[in-house]
């Protein structure tokens, strides 16, 4: 087995049975709210992130229901605008940017490199409080009248024309940015300083590589959007001339500053999922990952190139034609590292010994959705077709496939994969596998018709379309899909929570996976390992043939489906 947890020299006793683990080490609310344990902070994040996901999801339901009729069903235009803004802002700033790194990254990263905690445990706790403050402010802004500027907050609409709680919401997002920056700094410092002896850079799990690249984007990109949002607040409050031509500012400047962060930000959302998928695919193919170095370096390439393509959001916004050409070329090149990953994951499955447990089905679903999302990016990177497609439902479909498909499928894959580690309990894997299929089908039924709507020319952010009733059939399909998808998101809440009370004990390593996190108890003790781990080999040295029987036996013992 790859990595070994060795006892101090001479000591060959087995590890003592744990008396407490991180969950049972203190039961008071105080012990949770003041914890500096990265695993507890991950759980705090899991709870808050799930709350905002449900909230954002219910707004999505309202949008979809409204659009089944060309004349609208339930909402006034103003209310509709506030609903889609709340949906976008909550989903992007409070779920997509946070879910995988703050929950799974926080939980697994130190375990995976054999560290006792993140480099700055208190700053980690602070980042959760910043996130909570951000969420609260956004929530207040939504409840007390709402925000109608769209999650992109384009000026001068957001700065001078909107009569809604834009400033309050932006203060929330601004504070949330600091939560992101501190998380990024923490990951980078941890990877540099806290690796166990023998954990060289190229023995690190790909999950860690992905989070390292994500940390870089968080640290370098987030300050830019923070400043941009501050500028909008200043313009709204003090009429400083920054973005509004009426005051002498430049409205397109906002778009440059906003996308300089927000394009890389989409990689904050999907890079961590790439990490999850790399782990899950090797573990359930029981095979060493194919092209480890290429996957690791493609993460860094994405982080770097991601900063150079922001202008592809502005092909029709009056930036110069030559600028556009450069942005288009780099955007096309950015497709290559994403393709490298998909090809390498596919090759990992080749000659593997594949177990279709729920995390693996989510991972396969991820590949399907990401393929469609990434390939439709080509239509938008291509300046000719972008002129027709930009800002239509084609964009909506594209970014839901990459961001939502990417992040949510990655999050669910990872949550199922590490759930036994986090809680010490097994969930009903059969239900989970069927649910993964429902999510995949529901997702496609929801968003694929939107590509057609976009190609037909339906603009995004439209409250109704009575002047173009030919859009109705696809809108109805999409709403049907959203209903199926909603079911697929709610069912896991039930079987995962049930598992906490009724689930069988998971044992330390129910999937027979390699990697340091599987070598400690489930749930891990507060200090992660009883003995300091020493790493002696690569992470992914699975042997598909030799370990096969062993794995089946393990699954049989546990009564889980093999």
């Amino acid at each position: 087995m790859s990595t070994t947890v060795t006892t101090p020299i001479g000591n060959v006793e087995p590890a003592p049975k744990p008396r407490t683990n991180y969950l049972t080490n203190g039961h008071t609310l105080r012990s949770w709210l003041l914890t500096e344990d990265h695993k507890r902070i991950a759980i705090l994040y899991l709870i808050s992130v799930s709350f905002f996901f449900m909230l954002g999801g219910s707004f999505a339901g309202m949008i979809r229901w409204e659009l089944t009729s060309p004349a609208g069903n339930i909402l006034e235009s103003d209310a509709y605008n506030r609903v889609f803004t709340a949906h976008g802002a909550i989903m992007v700033f409070l779920f997509l940017l946070v879910a995988v790194p703050a929950v799974l990254g926080n939980f697994c990263l130190p375990l995976m490199i054999g560290a006792k905690d993140l480099a700055f445990p208190r700053i980690n706790l602070l980042s959760w409080y910043l996130y909570t403050a951000a969420g609260t402010l956004v929530l207040i802004s939504v409840i007390s009248g709402g925000v109608d500027a769209g999650w992109t907050f384009y000026t001068p609409y957001s700065s001078l024309y909107s009569n809604s709680n834009v400033s309050l919401c932006l203060v929330g997002v601004f504070i949330g940015g600091f939560s992101s920056i501190t998380t990024g700094v923490n990951f980078i410092a941890t990877v540099h300083r806290m690796r166990a002896p023998g954990m060289t850079w190229f023995r690190m799990p790909l999950f860690v590589w992905a989070h390292y690249a994500t940390g870089i984007i968080m640290m370098l990109g987030t300050p830019v959007v923070a400043i941009t949002l501050l500028c909008v607040i200043f313009e709204r409050t003090f009429q400083l001339p920054i973005f509004s031509p009426e005051l002498g500012g430049d409205p397109v400047l906002f778009q440059h500053m906003f996308w300089f962060y927000s394009h890389p930000a989409v990689y904050i959302m999907v890079l961590p999922s790439f990490g999850v998928i790399s782990e899950v695919i090797t573990a359930f193919s029981r095979k060493r990952v194919f092209g480890y170095h290429f996957i690791a370096f493609s993460s860094l390439a994405i982080a770097f190139l991601g900063f150079l393509v922001w202008g592809h959001h502005m092909f029709v916004s009056s930036q110069s034609m030559y600028q556009g050409v450069a942005f288009s070329l780099i955007t096309f090149l950015l497709a290559v590292p994403s393709a490298i990953k998909v090809f390498n994951w596919t090759a990992t499955m080749w000659k593997g010994n594949i177990h279709l447990n729920s995390p693996m089905i989510y991972a396969i679903g991820f590949m399907g959705l990401f393929l469609i999302g990434g390939l439709t990016g080509l239509f938008l990177a291509c300046m000719g077709t972008d002129v027709h497609l930009t800002a239509t439902y084609f964009i909506v479909a594209h970014f839901h496939y990459v961001m939502v498909g990417g992040t949510v499928m990655g999050f669910l894959a990872g949550l199922h994969f590490w759930w036994p580690k986090m809680t010490g309990k097994l969930f009903n894997d059969n239900v989970a596998r069927w649910n993964a299929i429902v999510v995949f089908l529901g997702f496609n039924l929801t968003f694929f018709p939107q590509f057609i709507l976009g190609w037909l020319g339906m603009p995004r952010r439209y409250h109704y379309y009575y002047f173009a009733p030919e859009y109705q059939p696809f809108n109805i399909m999409s709403t049907l899909g959203a209903t199926v998808l909603g079911v697929g998101f709610i069912v896991p809440v039930f079987y995962l929570i049930t598992s906490l009370f009724k689930g069988k004990p998971a044992g330390d390593n129910p999937w027979g996976a390699h990697g340091l996190e599987w070598q400690t108890t489930s749930p891990p003790p507060t200090e992660n390992f009883y003995y300091d781990p020493i790493v002696t080999d690569d992470v992914y040295d699975y042997d598909p043939v030799a370990e096969h029987e062993q794995f089946l036996e393990k699954q049989r013992q546990l009564g889980a489906h093999a």
Partner: protein, 376 residues
């Protein structure tokens, strides 16, 4: 909901549609190919190598330079090909033919104002003749909008404070959707209408019969009236008069040198800036005496002024001003006060006539503008 209501592609009604569609379907074909092949392997492996199957798993490979190079190089080459093709189509869309018929568009919450070359104006509907190159020169009076005609495969943002252009040649008679495709506030979804492509004969007839609105002046004619009315003609005559004021005859398209040494091309945006904020860039050889018309005149009127300046001929100066000429500070100060009075008068007149055009419909924006005025 019948099947005629179930289209899978938008109508194709402009010169751009066919090449854009070829490009679209080529990328579509490429994508389907990659998606199907890759996902086929994923699913195929998942079955072929499922746990316990008797598939051959001997000598598995973990690194293979040759494969990596192939799947890096092939997508890169394809990417560059499609980049080039897309850039070419984009350049066609962005560069209008020289002799295109120019129509002016002003976007504002939540309406499109359209001005045809002979002065006919319409809202939310754009009539165009078939097989004619049409160039739209567009600006917004408030927030960012986007002028989008799906059947023509063109759209472009309509930005406050700067002109953007878009062109097309309609090729099919019919009525097509016109949308605002940049979220712009409460009634964003309603900010649209139709583009009506007519035969050349019908269009000519339509133009001729639609004379009731705004006295049927061409933009240039309207501009000439304004030029005198709001006081431009007090200083700008048929010939240059340094240091008082340059003539604007033949200005459009010239390169101008500023007092700070900057060289600027006199295009629409330059002229607009010179009207709204003249002191930001002062022409070499002239004093900074021109009043700023910022917040004093509407985008429609600036359009007309530009059309007039483009047309070239300048009225001669009123005799009294000519005498004051370059005679000195006192006269200049007087002249300036007079101009401002003119502008204010004009403003009051407008406020009476069309209150909504002055922006009262968007409270915050109007308020902001007021505050700035007070500071001045």
């Amino acid at each position: 909901m019948n099947l005629a209501n179930f289209p899978f592609a938008p109508p194709a009604a402009s010169n751009f549609a066919s090449e854009m569609d070829t490009l679209f379907y080529s990328i579509f074909g490429l994508s389907v190919f990659f998606a199907v092949v890759t996902f086929f392997f994923v699913v195929f492996y998942a079955f072929r190598y499922r746990a316990g199957s008797s598939a051959d798993r001997s000598s598995p490979v973990y690194e293979n330079m040759k494969m990596e190079v192939i799947w890096i190089v092939v997508p890169t080459i394809l990417a560059i090909i499609f980049f080039g093709w897309g850039a070419k189509v984009y350049a066609d869309v962005r560069i209008p033919p020289k002799d295109a018929k120019e129509i002016y568009v002003v976007g504002k919450q939540w309406m499109w104002h359209i001005q045809h070359p002979n002065g006919v104006r319409e809202n939310n509907t754009l009539h165009v003749p078939i097989d004619t190159d049409i160039k739209l020169t567009m600006i917004s009076q408030d927030v960012i909008h986007a002028f989008y005609i799906p059947a023509f495969r063109v759209q472009f943002m309509v930005v406050p404070g700067r002109y953007t252009q878009m062109w097309f040649r309609p090729t099919q008679i019919g009525t097509y959707h016109l949308f605002c495709n940049m979220y712009c506030g409460a009634q964003h979804s309603e900010m649209g209408g139709s583009v009506i492509v007519m035969s050349k004969k019908d269009y000519a007839e339509w133009l001729a019969n639609n004379g009731s609105m705004r006295q049927n002046l061409t933009p240039a004619q309207a501009g000439e009236k304004l030029f005198t009315k709001i006081g431009c003609a007090n200083c700008h005559g048929p010939v240059d008069m340094p240091p008082r004021a340059p003539s604007l005859a033949g200005l459009y398209g010239k390169t101008r040198e500023m007092t700070n040494g900057q060289k600027l091309l006199a295009d629409e945006t330059y002229i607009r800036e010179a009207i709204l904020r003249p002191s930001e860039a002062v022409l070499k050889g002239y004093d900074n005496t021109m009043p700023a018309y910022d917040k004093q005149i509407s985008e429609d009127d600036i359009m007309s002024l530009i059309a007039f300046i483009k047309a070239g001929a300048m009225p001669s100066l009123p005799a009294s001003n000519l005498a004051a000429g370059s005679a000195g500070t006192e006269a200049q100060v007087k002249g300036k006060a007079g101009l401002n009075a003119n502008a204010l008068e004009y403003n009051a007149e407008r406020a009476d006539a069309t209150p909504t055009e002055r922006g009262s419909s968007h409270a915050v924006g109007a308020m902001a503008a007021e505050k700035v005025d007070q500071k001045r």
